[in-house]
């Protein structure tokens, strides 16, 4: 039992660093770069993606034994498209301003390679519980990554966090940060930072 728990915790934890989607695996670039001009947009996108990821992982894990391998990708895409459309309708119905801000990027979750990647790489080979833990970990990692990107870009681009003005009148907003170019700057720095940290982490135990 203890061993079992440990594995589940590992499946969850790996999404937070080891397999952190945008910065370590460089997956899911389209939403990471496109919608992270504010914290709230980043979090909304992250949560919508996590919902799709969790639902898709559950479904794929449940039907993994009956889907013939020749048509598995087609089946997964249908399942993923279903949840994406549900998420899109839900946002449009309950949170119209967020739905408007995210625009076409919610339907585009369908082609987010994180989701098909987890279905193909994890859920189709593993039972339900680990698949859920995997989705939760990766989803949380993705949401936090987008929130971090959004936070950095919002504070430099608008001088605010979550629409609350933090920097005073003296602050001249760096418009470039909320433009597409700013996404690339922030993303590049964060990838460099995660690479640096993981190198140091890897070097430390071996005593060099």
């Amino acid at each position: 039992m203890a061993n079992n728990n440990y594995n589940l915790w590992h499946e969850f934890k790996k999404g937070l660093w080891q397999e952190l989607p945008p910065f370590r695996l460089i997956l899911g670039m389209c939403p990471t770069l496109a919608v992270t001009n504010s914290v709230i947009n980043g979090v909304a996108m992250g949560l919508a993606t996590s919902f799709v990821l969790l639902s898709a992982n559950i479904s794929v894990s449940l039907i993994r034994k009956i889907v013939p391998s020749q048509v598995r990708i087609a089946t997964y895409v249908v399942v993923i498209a279903l949840y994406v459309t549900v998420a899109d309708l839900f946002l449009a119905a309950m949170f119209p301003p967020i739905s408007k801000a995210l625009g076409p990027y919610v339907p585009l979750i369908v082609v987010n390679c994180i989701i098909l990647g987890r279905a193909e790489g994890f859920a189709q080979k593993n039972p339900l519980t680990p698949s859920i833990m995997d989705a939760l970990g990766i989803g949380l990692g993705f949401t936090l990554s987008l929130a971090l990107m959004g936070g950095i870009r919002e504070i430099f681009g608008f001088g605010s966090i979550l629409d609350i003005k933090l920097l005073g009148e003296w602050f001249e907003p760096w418009i470039v940060m909320i433009l597409p170019a700013g996404a690339f700057f922030v993303f590049g720095f964060l990838v460099a930072l995660t690479n640096y940290l993981s190198k140091r982490k890897a070097a430390a135990p071996s005593g060099h």
Binding site: I66, V71, P96, G157
Partner: protein, 193 residues
Amino acid sequence: MNKIVKMVLVLSITGAVSGGILAQVFHFADPLIQENRKKELREAIFVVLSEAKDYTTLEKGNDKEKIVVYKGIDADGKLVGIAFIADGGGFQGNIRIMVGLSTDYLKLKGIKVLEQNETPGLGNRIKEPAFEDQFRGLEIKPKVEYIKYRKPEKPNQIQAITGATISSEAVVKNINNAVERVLKNFPQEEILK
């Protein structure tokens, strides 16, 4: 053979089940989405026709080119002005503006930018009150014009946003086009009666 049957079967069932779930979700979400759209429209009309408490919708034209105007009515049931959408190209992407026109058909009562994709910090300042408010009481004859770098001199002029002339011009142009279309299709006598 058996394999093919199984493949077809699995895909068909997945498709059918997904379709069924989606139909249910849509059934639940669609009325809410329509409601949100209506609310947004309603709020925009009340912004550009500030005295209005209610509105009625008038439509003209065929499916290809439909012209819609909203008659704003105050608490006593009196007509306070008409509102309509000015839709057209901007610097990047579309700009959608709600425009309010006075009942004498001479002045704008206000505008509200509903949708725009202009450059943040430059062109997107068209949605700021400082810019929108310039249109309140602006004369539409002979047409709305913009002027650069200085205060407007004529009653039909607004000052363009510095560094965003193209966006300012697009707003003016879209409003002129929409006003012209409404004047042509909904003569004043028709609205007043």
